[in-house]
Protein backbone atom coordinates (compact mmCIF):
# COMPACT_ATOMS: atom_id res chain seq x y z
CA UNK A 1 0.00 0.00 0.00
CA UNK A 2 2.83 2.35 0.94
CA UNK A 3 4.64 1.37 -2.25
CA UNK A 4 1.56 2.08 -4.37
CA UNK A 5 1.15 5.44 -2.64
CA UNK A 6 4.75 6.41 -3.45
CA UNK A 7 4.24 5.48 -7.13
CA UNK A 8 0.90 7.35 -7.20
CA UNK A 9 2.44 10.52 -5.74
CA UNK A 10 5.38 10.32 -8.14
CA UNK A 11 3.00 9.67 -11.04
CA UNK A 12 1.07 12.84 -10.23
CA UNK A 13 4.30 14.88 -10.18
CA UNK A 14 5.61 13.32 -13.42
CA UNK A 15 2.31 13.84 -15.26
CA UNK A 16 2.09 17.47 -14.06
CA UNK A 17 5.65 18.14 -15.28
CA UNK A 18 4.89 16.59 -18.69
CA UNK A 19 1.65 18.56 -18.96
CA UNK A 20 3.56 21.76 -18.12
CA UNK A 21 6.16 21.18 -20.85
CA UNK A 22 3.39 20.24 -23.34
CA UNK A 23 1.67 23.56 -22.55
CA UNK A 24 4.91 25.55 -22.81
CA UNK A 25 5.74 23.99 -26.20
CA UNK A 26 2.33 23.27 -27.75
CA UNK A 27 2.02 21.35 -31.01
CA UNK A 28 -0.94 20.28 -33.10
CA UNK A 29 -1.45 16.64 -34.15
CA UNK A 30 0.30 17.33 -37.45
CA UNK A 31 3.33 19.24 -36.12
CA UNK A 32 6.64 17.91 -34.83
CA UNK A 33 6.19 17.02 -31.10
CA UNK A 34 9.23 18.83 -29.68
CA UNK A 35 7.87 18.71 -26.12
CA UNK A 36 7.60 14.89 -26.05
CA UNK A 37 11.07 14.56 -27.56
CA UNK A 38 12.56 16.76 -24.81
CA UNK A 39 10.57 14.91 -22.12
CA UNK A 40 11.58 11.42 -23.24
CA UNK A 41 15.24 12.26 -23.86
CA UNK A 42 15.73 14.02 -20.52
CA UNK A 43 13.71 11.39 -18.63
CA UNK A 44 15.73 8.52 -20.11
CA UNK A 45 18.97 10.26 -19.11
CA UNK A 46 17.86 10.90 -15.53
CA UNK A 47 16.48 7.38 -14.99
CA UNK A 48 19.70 5.85 -16.34
CA UNK A 49 21.74 8.00 -13.97
CA UNK A 50 19.54 7.06 -11.00
CA UNK A 51 19.48 3.32 -11.70
CA UNK A 52 23.22 3.01 -12.33
CA UNK A 53 24.30 5.54 -9.72
CA UNK A 54 22.21 6.79 -6.85
CA UNK A 55 20.16 3.64 -6.42
CA UNK A 56 23.20 1.46 -5.85
CA UNK A 57 23.75 3.39 -2.61
CA UNK A 58 22.30 1.57 0.42
CA UNK A 59 21.21 4.81 2.13
CA UNK A 60 18.54 5.47 -0.53
CA UNK A 61 15.17 4.24 0.86
CA UNK A 62 12.92 1.96 -1.23
CA UNK A 63 10.00 4.41 -1.17
CA UNK A 64 12.16 7.12 -2.74
CA UNK A 65 13.24 4.79 -5.55
CA UNK A 66 9.56 3.98 -6.24
CA UNK A 67 8.54 7.63 -6.08
CA UNK A 68 11.22 8.74 -8.53
CA UNK A 69 11.51 5.67 -10.80
CA UNK A 70 8.13 4.11 -11.68
CA UNK A 71 6.47 7.25 -10.29
CA UNK A 72 7.96 10.56 -11.48
CA UNK A 73 10.09 9.38 -14.42
CA UNK A 74 7.76 6.55 -15.47
CA UNK A 75 4.83 8.94 -15.75
CA UNK A 76 6.89 11.89 -17.02
CA UNK A 77 8.12 9.97 -20.05
CA UNK A 78 5.64 8.41 -22.42
CA UNK A 79 5.59 5.72 -25.10
CA UNK A 80 1.94 6.18 -26.07
CA UNK A 81 2.36 9.85 -27.02
CA UNK A 82 5.12 8.85 -29.45
CA UNK A 83 2.89 6.20 -31.04
CA UNK A 84 -0.13 8.54 -31.19
CA UNK A 85 1.98 11.27 -32.84
CA UNK A 86 3.35 8.80 -35.39
CA UNK A 87 -0.18 7.63 -36.24
CA UNK A 88 -1.44 11.24 -36.43
CA UNK A 89 1.41 12.28 -38.71
CA UNK A 90 0.88 9.16 -40.84
CA UNK A 91 -2.88 9.82 -41.08
CA UNK A 92 -2.03 13.32 -42.34
CA UNK A 93 0.41 11.75 -44.86
CA UNK A 94 3.30 13.65 -43.23
CA UNK A 95 5.60 10.66 -43.66
CA UNK A 96 8.91 12.58 -43.69
CA UNK A 97 7.97 14.27 -40.41
CA UNK A 98 6.87 10.93 -38.91
CA UNK A 99 10.14 9.30 -39.95
CA UNK A 100 12.17 12.20 -38.62
CA UNK A 101 10.30 12.11 -35.31
CA UNK A 102 10.79 8.35 -34.88
CA UNK A 103 14.50 8.61 -35.71
CA UNK A 104 14.99 11.60 -33.40
CA UNK A 105 13.18 9.81 -30.56
CA UNK A 106 15.36 6.70 -30.88
CA UNK A 107 18.67 8.42 -31.72
CA UNK A 108 18.36 10.92 -28.86
CA UNK A 109 16.50 8.83 -26.26
CA UNK A 110 18.57 5.66 -26.23
CA UNK A 111 22.00 7.38 -26.22
CA UNK A 112 20.66 9.64 -23.46
CA UNK A 113 19.81 6.55 -21.39
CA UNK A 114 23.29 5.16 -22.11
CA UNK A 115 24.95 8.45 -21.11
CA UNK A 116 22.92 8.48 -17.89
CA UNK A 117 23.93 4.91 -17.05
CA UNK A 118 27.58 5.74 -17.81
CA UNK A 119 27.65 8.92 -15.70
CA UNK A 120 25.67 7.20 -12.93
CA UNK A 121 28.29 4.45 -12.84
CA UNK A 122 30.84 7.02 -11.69
CA UNK A 123 29.03 7.42 -8.38
CA UNK A 124 28.17 3.73 -8.08
CA UNK A 125 28.36 2.26 -4.62
CA UNK A 126 30.95 -0.51 -4.58
CA UNK A 127 30.78 -2.81 -1.53
CA UNK A 128 34.26 -4.10 -2.34
CA UNK A 129 35.71 -0.58 -2.22
CA UNK A 130 34.02 -0.12 1.16
CA UNK A 131 35.64 -3.25 2.52
CA UNK A 132 38.98 -2.08 1.15
CA UNK A 133 38.63 1.31 2.84
CA UNK A 134 37.82 -0.30 6.18
CA UNK A 135 40.74 -2.70 6.21
Amino acid sequence: MRNALAVFAGGIIGTALRLGIDRALPHSDTQFPVSTLIINTSGAFVLGWLVAGLWTRPAVPAWLKLLLGPGVLGAFTTFSAVMVSLVSLGAASSWPLAGLYLLATLLLGFPAALLGVWLGGRIRHLPAADAGARS
Binding site: N3, G14, A16, G43, G74, A75, A81, S88, T105, A113
Partner: protein, 122 residues
Amino acid sequence: MNALVFAAVVAGGGAAAVVRYFVSRALPVGPGRLPIGVLIVNVAGALLGGVILGLAERAVLSSDLRLVLLTGVCGGLTTFSTWSVETIDLALKGRWRSAVLNLVGTLLLGIAVCAAGYLLAR
Protein backbone atom coordinates in the same frame (compact mmCIF):
# COMPACT_ATOMS: atom_id res chain seq x y z
CA MET B 1 -7.76 24.23 -18.92
CA ASN B 2 -9.56 24.64 -15.61
CA ALA B 3 -8.45 23.30 -12.23
CA LEU B 4 -10.78 20.31 -12.41
CA VAL B 5 -9.37 19.14 -15.75
CA PHE B 6 -5.82 19.61 -14.46
CA ALA B 7 -6.64 17.55 -11.36
CA ALA B 8 -8.22 14.81 -13.49
CA VAL B 9 -5.18 14.66 -15.83
CA VAL B 10 -2.62 14.33 -13.03
CA ALA B 11 -4.80 11.94 -10.98
CA GLY B 12 -5.26 9.80 -14.10
CA GLY B 13 -1.50 9.81 -14.64
CA GLY B 14 -0.82 8.87 -11.02
CA ALA B 15 -3.38 6.03 -11.03
CA ALA B 16 -2.07 4.71 -14.35
CA ALA B 17 1.49 4.75 -12.97
CA VAL B 18 0.26 2.52 -10.12
CA VAL B 19 -1.26 0.10 -12.67
CA ARG B 20 2.09 0.01 -14.52
CA TYR B 21 3.90 -0.64 -11.25
CA PHE B 22 1.61 -3.56 -10.34
CA VAL B 23 1.84 -5.13 -13.82
CA SER B 24 5.65 -4.95 -13.87
CA ARG B 25 5.78 -6.32 -10.30
CA ALA B 26 3.47 -9.21 -11.24
CA LEU B 27 5.82 -10.10 -14.12
CA PRO B 28 9.32 -9.84 -12.65
CA VAL B 29 12.20 -9.68 -15.11
CA GLY B 30 14.76 -12.49 -14.98
CA PRO B 31 18.39 -11.38 -15.41
CA GLY B 32 19.09 -10.83 -19.10
CA ARG B 33 15.48 -11.61 -20.03
CA LEU B 34 12.91 -9.50 -21.85
CA PRO B 35 11.16 -6.98 -19.53
CA ILE B 36 7.74 -8.26 -20.54
CA GLY B 37 5.72 -6.25 -17.99
CA VAL B 38 6.78 -2.87 -19.36
CA LEU B 39 6.37 -4.18 -22.92
CA ILE B 40 2.76 -5.22 -22.23
CA VAL B 41 1.93 -1.91 -20.54
CA ASN B 42 3.50 0.16 -23.34
CA VAL B 43 1.71 -1.78 -26.08
CA ALA B 44 -1.62 -1.63 -24.20
CA GLY B 45 -1.19 2.12 -23.75
CA ALA B 46 -0.40 2.57 -27.45
CA LEU B 47 -3.62 0.68 -28.37
CA LEU B 48 -5.66 2.78 -25.94
CA GLY B 49 -4.01 5.93 -27.31
CA GLY B 50 -4.95 5.01 -30.88
CA VAL B 51 -8.57 4.34 -29.92
CA ILE B 52 -8.83 7.65 -28.04
CA LEU B 53 -7.27 9.52 -30.97
CA GLY B 54 -9.85 7.98 -33.32
CA LEU B 55 -12.79 8.72 -31.02
CA ALA B 56 -11.62 12.31 -30.53
CA GLU B 57 -11.43 12.75 -34.31
CA ARG B 58 -15.08 11.63 -34.59
CA ALA B 59 -15.81 14.25 -31.89
CA VAL B 60 -17.12 11.49 -29.61
CA LEU B 61 -14.73 12.79 -26.94
CA SER B 62 -14.44 16.40 -25.82
CA SER B 63 -11.00 18.01 -25.90
CA ASP B 64 -10.94 17.95 -22.08
CA LEU B 65 -11.68 14.23 -21.97
CA ARG B 66 -9.11 13.60 -24.69
CA LEU B 67 -6.52 15.42 -22.53
CA VAL B 68 -7.44 13.40 -19.42
CA LEU B 69 -7.30 10.06 -21.26
CA LEU B 70 -4.35 10.70 -23.60
CA THR B 71 -2.03 12.93 -21.55
CA GLY B 72 -3.19 11.59 -18.18
CA VAL B 73 -4.05 7.90 -18.39
CA CYS B 74 -2.06 6.78 -21.48
CA GLY B 75 0.87 9.06 -20.70
CA GLY B 76 1.08 7.87 -17.10
CA LEU B 77 0.57 4.22 -18.01
CA THR B 78 3.31 4.04 -20.63
CA THR B 79 6.95 4.91 -20.19
CA PHE B 80 9.89 5.72 -22.41
CA SER B 81 12.52 5.98 -19.65
CA THR B 82 12.17 2.41 -18.34
CA TRP B 83 11.97 1.02 -21.87
CA SER B 84 15.22 2.72 -22.93
CA VAL B 85 17.15 2.12 -19.69
CA GLU B 86 16.21 -1.59 -19.56
CA THR B 87 17.16 -2.00 -23.22
CA ILE B 88 20.54 -0.31 -22.62
CA ASP B 89 21.02 -2.50 -19.54
CA LEU B 90 20.43 -5.67 -21.60
CA ALA B 91 22.88 -4.47 -24.28
CA LEU B 92 25.56 -3.62 -21.70
CA LYS B 93 25.19 -7.12 -20.22
CA GLY B 94 25.83 -8.57 -23.69
CA ARG B 95 22.21 -9.73 -24.05
CA TRP B 96 21.99 -8.34 -27.55
CA ARG B 97 19.12 -10.54 -28.70
CA SER B 98 16.92 -9.51 -25.79
CA ALA B 99 17.93 -5.85 -26.22
CA VAL B 100 17.08 -5.77 -29.94
CA LEU B 101 13.89 -7.76 -29.37
CA ASN B 102 12.81 -5.33 -26.64
CA LEU B 103 13.52 -2.29 -28.82
CA VAL B 104 12.14 -3.53 -32.13
CA GLY B 105 9.33 -5.66 -30.65
CA THR B 106 7.92 -2.85 -28.50
CA LEU B 107 8.18 -0.40 -31.38
CA LEU B 108 6.55 -2.59 -34.05
CA LEU B 109 3.77 -3.84 -31.76
CA GLY B 110 3.19 -0.30 -30.47
CA ILE B 111 2.85 1.26 -33.92
CA ALA B 112 0.71 -1.64 -35.22
CA VAL B 113 -1.84 -1.62 -32.36
CA CYS B 114 -1.96 2.19 -32.18
CA ALA B 115 -2.70 2.45 -35.91
CA ALA B 116 -5.25 -0.39 -35.71
CA GLY B 117 -7.00 1.21 -32.72
CA TYR B 118 -7.13 4.55 -34.51
CA LEU B 119 -8.47 3.11 -37.77
CA LEU B 120 -11.14 1.06 -35.99
CA ALA B 121 -12.31 3.91 -33.75
CA ARG B 122 -12.35 6.86 -36.12
